[in-house]
C-alpha cells in the first residue's frame, strides 16, 4: 500500500508535483499515466525517499520508506534501467545490493534465472542491450521478495516476447497480493495490464479510477456511419446529435447518439446504411482527452498532415 497525501515538489520556480494525493492498493496492477514531464518519476523518487517532498508526505505500508529497517523487503523498484556500472557484471551488481540486507547468493541466482539473464550474468553490464538492462532492473526489484513493486517504464526497450513476459509478471505479482505500481507512456500496454489508473498532468492529479471507468468516462464514445447518401444523413442527424463530422474516407462520425438512434433515424428517412459501428475510446484517446490541457511540451498543431 502506497499512500500519498498532499505530496508537493518544487524545483526552483517549477512545481513538478502539486498537492498530489492518492492510494495504491495491493492485489491489483495500478498504472501511473501522465504526459512527459508530468511528475511521474519525481513522484516515484519521493516514494523511495530519494527526493524529499517540499510539502506533504508519502508512506509505504504505513511508514515513510526511509523508516523501514528492511527496505528491500518492503519495496522493490526499477527507476532507470541504466542504473548499473558498465564495468560490473549483472551477477556482482545484484550481489552487492543483496548484501546490504543479508540476502544470499542463492536468491541472486534465483532472480537472475527469473528474468532470463543466466547466460549473460557474468558479463560486463556495459555491453547489455536496453532490454537486458531492463531485465536486470527487474531482477533488482524482485531481489528482496518485496510487498510493493514500483516500476518506472518497465517495458521500455523490451521486445515482443519481453513485453508479454512483463505483462504476466505484473499480473502474477498482483495476484500474489502485492502492491504493483507501474508507470508507462505506452497506453495500449497499460490498457492490457493495469486494472486501476492514476493519471497526472503538470504534477496534478487528473484521475484516480478503475481502467474501465476511465475509458467509459472519456467523451469520445461515438458512432461511425456510412450510407448511400451521406449529405442527407448528415442533415438528418445534425439537429439531434451533439456533433456530426465527415471522416477522411467519407464516413460520418456522430457523437451524442447511439447506433440504435442513428439506425432508426436513417430507416425512417429511407436512407440505406452501409456501415454502422459503435466506437469506444481507446485508453489512448481517453488519456489524450483528459490530459490535453496538461501537456507541457506539445508539438505545433500546424505540422503537415501525413498522406
Amino acid at each position: 500500500m502506497i499512500e500519498a497525501r498532499g505530496l508537493t515538489k518544487r524545483y526552483g520556480a517549477k512545481l513538478a508535483v502539486d498537492d498530489l494525493s492518492f492510494t495504491v492498493r495491493p492485489g491489483v496492477v495500478t498504472g501511473f499515466l501522465g504526459p512527459n514531464g508530468a511528475g511521474k518519476s519525481t513522484t516515484m523518487r519521493m516514494i523511495l525517499g530519494l527526493d524529499a517532498p517540499t510539502r506533504g508526505s508519502v508512506t509505504v505500508n504505513g511508514k515513510p520508506y526511509r523508516q523501514h529497517p528492511a527496505p528491500l523487503r518492503e519495496v522493490g523498484a526499477l527507476l532507470d534501467a541504466r542504473s548499473v556500472h558498465p564495468g560490473r557484471s549483472a551477477h556482482h551488481h545484484l550481489l552487492a545490493i543483496a548484501q546490504t540486507c543479508g540476502i544470499g547468493r542463492s536468491r541472486v541466482d534465483e532472480v537472475i534465472d527469473a528474468v532470463g539473464l543466466r547466460e549473460v550474468a557474468r558479463r560486463r553490464a556495459g555491453g547489455f542491450s536496453l532490454g537486458m538492462g531492463q531485465r536486470l532492473g527487474i531482477a533488482v526489484a524482485l531481489l528482496g521478495d518485496p510487498h510493493t513493486v514500483i516500476l518506472d517504464e518497465p517495458v521500455n526497450g523490451l521486445d515482443t516476447e519481453g513485453i508479454r513476459w512483463m505483462r504476466s509478471l505484473l499480473r502474477d505479482l498482483a495476484a500474489e497480493g502485492r502492491t504493483v505500481f507501474v508507470s508507462s507512456h505506452l497506453m495500449s500496454e497499460m490498457a492490457l495490464t493495469a486494472e486501476h489508473l492514476i493519471v497526472i498532468g503538470r504534477g496534478r492529479l487528473i484521475a484516480d479510477t478503475g481502467m474501465r471507468e476511465f475509458i467509459a468516462g472519456a467523451a469520445r464514445d461515438d458512432v461511425r456511419v456510412r450510407s448511400t447518401d451521406q449529405d442527407a444523413l448528415a442533415a438528418l442527424l445534425r439537429p439531434r446529435a451533439a456533433e456530426v463530422s465527415p471522416d477522411r474516407d467519407g464516413a460520418l462520425t456522430v457523437s451524442g447518439l447511439t447506433t440504435d438512434q442513428v439506425g432508426r433515424a436513417a430507416a425512417a428517412a429511407g436512407i440505406t446504411l452501409l456501415e454502422l459501428t459503435a466506437r469506444q475510446a481507446s485508453l489512448e484517446e481517453a488519456f489524450i482527452d483528459m490530459t490535453s490541457d496538461a501537456v507541457e511540451f506539445r508539438a505545433p498543431t500546424t505540422a503537415p498532415a501525413k498522406g
Binding site: 528492511a70 527496505p71 523487503r73 546490504t100 540476502i103 547468493r105 542463492s106 527469473a114 528482496g144 521478495d145
Partner: protein, 273 residues
C-alpha cells in the same frame, strides 16, 4: 515463466535488515568486482615499489657531496618516493568510487537499498581504507627493502631498526589510505568526477605554491599545516625544519579529511539524488 517468491535460505524474511556490517560487505563487493578499480590499486602498488627503486638507483650514481646534503640525506624517503605518484592514483580512485555511482545512476539503487544513506559512505570509506592498507603496507615495505638494497651498493642505506624508519615506512601506507579517503570525501561532496579530481589535485598541490608568495616568516609558519606537507611528514625520517612533527602532521591531515567527509555526509543526507 514463474516468479520465485521464496526468499533465499540464508536470509529469513524477517532478517533483511540493513546493518552497517552488511553495507561494508556490499561496498567491498562493489570495490573488488570493478576491474578498473582493482587495476588502479595494482598500478599504485607498482608505482610505490618501482619509482622508489628507480630513484634509489639514481641517487647511488649521484651520492650527496657537501656536508649539508649528507646531513639531510634520507634513504628511507628516497625508497618511498613512489608515494608522491601513487597518492594521485589512490586519491582519484577514492573519488571515482562515489562519483562513478552518481554518473551511472547506481547511486539511486544504492540509496533505495540503504535509505539511511550514510552507511553507504562509511561502508565505502572503511572498505576502501582497508583495501588501500592491505595493498600499500606490503608495497611500502617492499619499496623500502628494494630501495635500501639498491642504496647499499653506495653505502647509503639504512635499516628498519633505525629511529623513525619503521614509522616512516608504515606511515607511507597510512598517508596513502588517508589520501584515498580525502578523494572519497571530495567525490561525495562534489559528486562529479572532474570537479572532485580537480579539487583533489588543488588541495594537494596548490596551497604550497600560494604560500610561496607570502613573506618567508609567514610561509614557514603556515607550510607545515598545509594538507600535503602535513600528511607527508609521517613518511620522513629527517624532518624538514618547517614541517610539523610526524604524527602531529598526520593528525592534521586526518583532520582535514574528517572535515571533508563530515561535509560530504551532511550533503548526502540532506540533498536529493
Amino acid at each position: 515463466m514463474t516468479v520465485p517468491t521464496a526468499p533465499a535460505p540464508t536470509a529469513s524474511r524477517d532478517d533483511q535488515r540493513v546493518t552497517q556490517a552488511r553495507v561494508i560487505r556490499s561496498e567491498w563487493t562493489k570495490l573488488r568486482t570493478l576491474p578498473s578499480s582493482a587495476w588502479s590499486l595494482v598500478v599504485a602498488a607498482v608505482l610505490i615499489v618501482g619509482i622508489g627503486a628507480l630513484y634509489a638507483g639514481v641517487r647511488v650514481t649521484r651520492p650527496p657531496q657537501d656536508p649539508a646534503a649528507i646531513a639531510s640525506f634520507d634513504p628511507t624517503a628516497i625508497s618511498l618516493s613512489g608515494i608522491s605518484l601513487a597518492q594521485l592514483a589512490i586519491g582519484v580512485l577514492g573519488a571515482l568510487l562515489i562519483t562513478g555511482e552518481y554518473a551511472t545512476g547506481t547511486i539511486r539503487t544504492s540509496f533505495a537499498a540503504v535509505p539511511a544513506r550514510l552507511p553507504v559512505l562509511w561502508g565505502k570509506a572503511i572498505g576502501y581504507a582497508l583495501a588501500v592498507l592491505a595493498l600499500c603496507v606490503p608495497a611500502s615495505f617492499a619499496a623500502f627493502l628494494v630501495g635500501q638494497s639498491i642504496l647499499s651498493s653506495g653505502d647509503l642505506d639504512t635499516t628498519l631498526g633505525q629511529p623513525g624508519v619503521a614509522r616512516a615506512v608504515l606511515g607511507a601506507a597510512l598517508y596513502l589510505a588517508a589520501v584515498g579517503l580525502l578523494g572519497l570525501g571530495l567525490g561525495a561532496l562534489l559528486r562529479g568526477t572532474a570537479a572532485a579530481v580537480g579539487a583533489l589535485f588543488g588541495l594537494l598541490f596548490a596551497p604550497q605554491i600560494l604560500v610561496g608568495f607570502l613573506p618567508s616568516t609567514w610561509s614557514d609558519q603556515l607550510y607545515g599545516y598545509l594538507p600535503a606537507p602535513a600528511g607527508i611528514a609521517v613518511t620522513n625520517v629527517r624532518q624538514d625544519p618547517v614541517a610539523l612533527a610526524p604524527w602531529t602532521g598526520f593528525g592534521v591531515f586526518c583532520l582535514y579529511t574528517a572535515i571533508l567527509l563530515a561535509l560530504a555526509a551532511w550533503r548526502m543526507r540532506h540533498r536529493d539524488t
